[in-house]
C-alpha cells in the first residue's frame, strides 16, 4: 500500500515531462517530414529558376526546337526528347515482357528454395551501379553488339529504316539495351509482389476446374493484375527516362538530330545534361541545360505520379476484394 502514494507524488512531474516529451517528439518528426517536402519543392523551384534565362529567350518553342547549337546560341530540346523517347521505348519493349515473365516464374513456377535465391539475384541486378553498367556497355556489350547483334538484324530487317545505317559500338541501340537491363529487375520485382498477392482461392479454383497452369495464369493472375502491371511498366519507364550516366557512356552523343536509324549515335535529355553541363560556358547554355532538366523533371514527375495513382487505386481495390 505504501507504493501508491509514492506514484501519486510522481504524477505531477511525470505528467509535465510526458506532455513536454510528446510535444517535442511530435515537433521533431513534423519538422523532419516538412523538411522532406520542402526539399522536393526547393528542387522544382531551383530547376525552374535556373531555366528562366532560356525560357525568356526561347519560350515554349524551346520544347519543339530542333537545333542545339552552342556557337550560334540557339537551343532546342526536340532532338533530346526524341532520343529519350526512342531509347526508353526500346528498353520497355525488351524489358516489359521479360520482367513480367520473370515475375511469373518467381511467383507461380519456381520451387520455394529456387524462388528466394533467384529473386535475390534479380534484385542484385538492380543494385549494379549505373556507371559500372555503362562501362561494361561501352567496352564489352557495344563491341559485341556491333559484331554479332546489329549486322544480323540489319541482314534480316534492313528494309526497315530503324535498322539502316552503319552498325556501331555506341549509339541509340546500345543505350536501349543497357536501359532494358536496368528496367527488367524493376518490373520483375514489382510483378512478383503483385502476382503473389493474387488470392490463392482464385488460383486454386481455376486449377480445380481443370485449367492448365498457363490458363490459370492468363485467366486469373494476369487479368486480375492488369493495372498493377501497367504501374510496374510505367515505373520502369520513369527509370529509363531519367537514367543519365550509363546512357551518356554508351549513346555516343554525336549525331543528335532526329533520325530513324537505331544504330546511329544520339542523345537523351538526361545524357545531354550529364555530358555538357560541366563544360558549359555561356549563361544561356547553362540555362538551356536547366530547361532540359525542367522538362525531364516534369516528365519524370508525371510518369511517377501516374504509376502511384494506379498503384493506390489498385491496392485499395484488391484489399477491398479480399
Amino acid at each position: 500500500m505504501s507504493v501508491v502514494p509514492a506514484t501519486q507524488e510522481l504524477t505531477g512531474g511525470r505528467r509535465v515531462r510526458d506532455w513536454l516529451g510528446d510535444r517535442i517528439m511530435f515537433g521533431l518528426t513534423l519538422v523532419a517530414a516538412l523538411a522532406t517536402v520542402a526539399i522536393m519543392v526547393l528542387i522544382a523551384y531551383k530547376v525552374v529558376r535556373g531555366a528562366e534565362l532560356s525560357y525568356r529567350a526561347f519560350g515554349l518553342s524551346f520544347v519543339t526546337g530542333s537545333v542545339w547549337d552552342v556557337n550560334k546560341a540557339v537551343f532546342g530540346a526536340a532532338p533530346f526528347l526524341f532520343g529519350t523517347a526512342v531509347t526508353s521505348l526500346m528498353a520497355l519493349l525488351i524489358a516489359a515482357p521479360l520482367g513480367i515473365a520473370i515475375g511469373l516464374f518467381l511467383s507461380e513456377l519456381a520451387p520455394r528454395g529456387v524462388r528466394v535465391i533467384i529473386g535475390a539475384l534479380v534484385e542484385l541486378l538492380a543494385a549494379i551501379p549505373s556507371v559500372v553498367l555503362g562501362l561494361w556497355g561501352i567496352l564489352v556489350l557495344g563491341p559485341f553488339a556491333a559484331d554479332h547483334i546489329e549486322p544480323p538484324l540489319q541482314r534480316a530487317f534492313g528494309f526497315l529504316p530503324i535498322f539502316s545505317g552503319k552498325p556501331g559500338s555506341s549509339g541509340i541501340f546500345i543505350a536501349g539495351l543497357v536501359l532494358a537491363i536496368m528496367v527488367v529487375p524493376i518490373v520483375a520485382s514489382i510483378c512478383r509482389e503483385l502476382f503473389l498477392s493474387v488470392p490463392t482461392e482464385l488460383e486454386e479454383g481455376a486449377l480445380a476446374l481443370g485449367a492448365t497452369r498457363w490458363e490459370m495464369v492468363r485467366g486469373v493472375v494476369l487479368s486480375s493484375s492488369r493495372p498493377g502491371i501497367a504501374a510496374a511498366i510505367i515505373l520502369g519507364l520513369g527509370r529509363a527516362i531519367g537514367e543519365a550516366i550509363a546512357v551518356t557512356q554508351v549513346i555516343g552523343a554525336g549525331n543528335s538530330g532526329i533520325h530513324a536509324s537505331l544504330f546511329a549515335t544520339g542523345d537523351t535529355l538526361a545524357s545531354r545534361i550529364a555530358g555538357e553541363f560541366i563544360g558549359a560556358s555561356s549563361k544561356l547554355q547553362i540555362a538551356s541545360l536547366f530547361y532540359l532538366a525542367g522538362i525531364l523533371l516534369v516528365i519524370g514527375l508525371l510518369t511517377n505520379l501516374l504509376a502511384q495513382v494506379i498503384v493506390r487505386r489498385f491496392e485499395s481495390q484488391r484489399v477491398g476484394a479480399d
Partner: protein, 294 residues
Amino acid sequence: MSAVEPALTLRGDARVRRRRIVNRLAESAATIAALAALAVLGIVIFSVAKRGGGELSWGFLTEDLPTFGQTGGGIAPLIVGSAILVGIATAIALPLGVLTALFLSEFAPRRLSAAIQLTIDLMNGLPSVIIGIFVFGLLVYGHTQSGYAGGFALSIVMLPLIARSTQEVLRLVPRAQREAALALGVSRWRIVVGIVLPSALGGILTGTVLAIARAAGETAPLLFTTSIFVNQITSDVRHAMPNIPVQIFIWSESPDPEDHKRAWASAFVLIMFVLVTSLLARLALARTRRKLSR
C-alpha cells in the same frame, strides 16, 4: 451424356494435348526469361572481375591517383572521398528519414500522411541527374564544388529509401504492443523511444545499409557537385572530394587503354562493395521481417 464422355477419358484428345503444349511453352518462356536475367548478371560481374580483378593490387588500393600520362598510381583518395561523402549523406538522411517515417506512422493525420507519402515516392523516382543539377544551383553556383554539396546530393538519394524501409519495419511492430502500453498510461513519446524504436532498430539499420550501397554507386548527383578534384587523399569537405563513381565515369570516357584498366579495377572494388553489402543487408532484412511478423 455421350458428349461428355470423351473429355473424361484420360487419353487426352488433340485439344488437351495442344493445351498442354501451350502450357509447356509458356512455362519454358518464363524460365528462360529468369535464366536470361541471371545470365546478364553473371556476364556483367564476370567481365568486371576478369578485367578488374587482375589489375587489383595493394598499391592500387593505397596509392594516390596517377597524374596525367603517368603509369601506375592508385585509388586511395577515391575510397576515402567516397566514404566521407556517403558518411555526410548518411548523417543527413538517416535522422531525417527515420523521423519522417515516425511522423507518418505515429503522428500524422490521414490526409497529411498521404501527401507526405506521395512526396517520398516521387522523390524516390526523381532522376538522379536532376538532384545533381539542383544541388549545383543551390550550393555550387557562385561558390565552388565541395564535399558537403556532394554529400547533400547523395542524401537526397538516400532519404526516400531510408524513410520507406523505416516505415515498413515500423508497420511490422505489433499494434497490440503499442495499445497495451497506451492502456497502461504510457505516453506517446515513451512508447516511441521505449517500444517502437528498439524493436524496429535492426530493420532501420539494414535499410540504411541498403541505402548506403545504393548511394556509393551514384554518379549523377556528384557529377556537378564534386567532380574536379585533387589527386591526393583529402578530408577537406569545403573542396571537391575525389570519389569512385565520378572517376570511373571520367576514365571510361577516356581514349587511353591504361585508363580503361583503372576504370575496370575501380569498378571491381565498387561492385564488390555494393553487391556484398546489399546481399548481406537483404539477408538481415528478411530475418528481421520474419522475427517481427512472427
